[in-house]
């Protein structure tokens, strides 16, 4: 070949970036199944707001723009318990209401978590009378209690973050004893 061809390899700029490279990072990721699933689940909490009383105002405040629970992946309320993971019990639960709340809880699919939002759902608050259930943990397991009458939005966000930590730490069996 008489023609002089430059032998210096000339690569178009950017070829390395588009071509799959064996040396690139994150080709493989090693983790534990529980950590991966927990990481996914903690940022996709679908709350079911079971709203019965004045704490609802604070729930609206914490859901909307200035505080924005969407930052924690927990903004979109599902109005069917069958589509939701987190039962937020917002307000006073009476003995007359308790069977309805329990039915809603039982309709939720696993995995599910419960937040007692405010003093009344936590402990009955300042009520002690014929009508009021003194804390929803008398009829169902509760994962996180948010104190306050009503709670500050920061308190609720702290509760959501604590719940996220709990979800990230806990086991996520593919098949559990309820399934």
């Amino acid at each position: 070949m008489s023609a002089t061809i430059p032998i210096t390899p000339v690569m178009a700029k950017g070829v390395h970036a588009t071509r799959p490279s064996r040396s690139a990072a994150f080709e493989y990721l090693t983790t534990k199944k529980d950590e991966l699933v927990g990481w996914g689940r903690k940022f996709s909490i679908f709350p079911y707001p079971f709203v019965t009383a004045c704490c609802a105002m604070e729930f609206m405040a914490v859901s909307s723009t200035p505080y924005d629970t969407d930052r924690f992946g927990a903004a979109l309320p599902r109005f069917s318990p069958r589509q939701s993971d987190l039962l937020m019990v917002v307000g006073t639960i009476t003995h007359k209401q308790a069977p309805i709340l329990l039915k809603v809880y039982e309709q939720m699919c696993e995995p599910k978590w419960v937040m007692a939002f405010g003093a009344c759902a936590t402990s009955g608050g300042f009520y002690q009378n014929y009508a009021t259930l003194l804390g929803i943990d008398r009829i169902m397991p509760v994962d996180v209690y948010v104190p306050g009458c009503p709670p500050r939005p920061e308190t609720v966000i702290d509760g959501i973050m604590q719940l996220q930590d709990r979800i990230a730490r806990q086991r996520h069996p593919i098949v559990n004893d309820a399934f």
Partner: protein, 158 residues
């Protein structure tokens, strides 16, 4: 203006009831058998077209233990009237006002829930705020305040 209306009402009702003016309202203490007649008079002749409340007061230890209380308001004259009658615990019976005021139905149901007053003629005295199976009347003074009647068994009892 209101005081002159109230004074003339008090004088008009002095024949059938113990009438007085109390805290800016006409107060009529009547016998239980006079309830319908007095309420009819208030409604038909004096324009008390709004029944605001039906409730009761528990006086433990008194021979006639309960006062049943009705609150009326006249939207034309803008005055209030309160009618009370005393009944015994053994027979807490008064006549219903559902024939005069439609709103009496729910309020009498609530009063029946809370105090056990029986409104003769009210065909529907099912629980309205309480639930089926609730025993007792929670606003009576002898109902213990911490007494609960849960519908769902508690977790530690299951």
């Amino acid at each position: 203006m209101r005081d002159t209306v109230l004074a003339s009402l008090r004088d008009d009702f002095a024949d059938t009831a113990k009438a007085s003016i109390d805290r800016g309202a006409l107060l009529l203490a009547v016998d239980p058998q006079e309830v319908i007649a007095t309420a009819t008079r208030l409604r038909r002749d004096y324009g008390f077209d709004l029944l605001l409340d039906v409730t009761a007061v528990d006086w433990p230890g008194r021979p006639l233990r309960f006062d049943v209380v009705w609150h009326f308001y006249s939207t034309t004259q803008r005055v209030r009237a309160r009618m009370t009658t005393a009944v015994a615990e053994a027979s807490p019976d008064v006549a219903t006002l559902t024939g005069l005021y439609g709103s009496a139905g729910f309020m009498e149901r609530e009063c029946h829930d809370m105090y056990g007053i029986r409104f003769a003629g009210n065909a529907d005295l099912r629980p309205i705020l309480l639930y089926e199976g609730f025993v007792g009347h929670p606003l009576r003074k002898d109902y213990a305040k911490e007494h609960e009647q849960p519908l769902v068994p508690y977790r530690d009892e299951r």
